[in-house]
């Protein structure tokens, strides 16, 4: 038996639920001034304040303020992983192959986007794009996987 790292099928629904909540928080954050919610809580930062020089090999643990951003990102990470990497109810090796092919496709498409962004997008927009790309990988994968799975089932239905 080959080991895989997938969650049980029920996690797919939980994942979609988490993503919906994350999306609601995200829209709320965009629509209103974050400070209006007054959400601030202590977090530990490993990097110095913005105006200080930082090398990646040095850590400067200090207290900082967390906000909505950290919550939304955490929910997005967990939700994406649950949706993307849950087993199907009828899991077998053919579905495992479809999943693997979709993942390769999604990574390639995303890397083309990363390359394009690096060559043609500069400044703050570049950082924004880079914050989106981890999740776009999942989005591409989830879309491609579901289309492939639908086609596989439809083509082999009769």
């Amino acid at each position: 038996m080959v080991k895989n790292y997938l969650f049980s099928p029920v996690f797919k629904k939980i994942g979609y639920g988490i993503l919906v909540v994350a999306l609601v928080f995200f829209v709320l954050c965009l629509s209103f001034d974050q400070l209006a919610f007054g959400l601030q809580y202590p977090m530990i930062s490993l990097t110095p304040p913005m105006d200080e020089e930082w090398t990646i090999f040095k850590f400067y643990p200090r207290l900082t303020q967390g906000g909505w951003f950290e919550i939304v990102m955490t929910l997005m990470c967990v939700g994406c992983v649950f949706v993307a990497f849950s087993k199907e109810k009828e899991e077998d090796e053919c579905i495992a192959q479809i999943r693997m092919q979709s993942l390769v496709w999604a990574l390639m498409v995303n890397m083309v986007l990363v390359l394009f962004t690096t060559l043609f997008i500069y400044g703050g927009s570049y950082l924004t794009c880079m914050a989106v790309y981890p999740f776009s990988t999942f989005l591409f994968f989830i879309i491609k996987y579901n289309i492939s799975l639908y086609q596989f089932r439809k083509n082999n239905e009769e």
Binding site: E90, D92, E93, C94, I95, Q97, R153, N156, E157
Partner: protein
């Protein structure tokens, strides 16, 4: 031996669509699945699966 695709699928632990895909030549099963299918039909694997020209 007469099986429906559904019965065969249940015997070897895959979905019916996978059996259909194998029959159509759209999916090449793993060694494990090939051996399971051979066991169900009580035949050597080579009698059920052969290399085709492009392999």
């Amino acid at each position: 031996m007469d099986f429906t695709q559904q019965q065969l699928a249940e015997l070897v632990g895959v979905s019916r669509q996978t059996i259909n895909a194998i029959e159509k030549g759209n999916y090449v099963p793993s060694t494990t699945l090939s051996l399971k299918l051979a066991r169900v039909f009580s035949k050597p694997v080579e009698e059920i699966f052969q290399l085709d020209e492009n392999d």
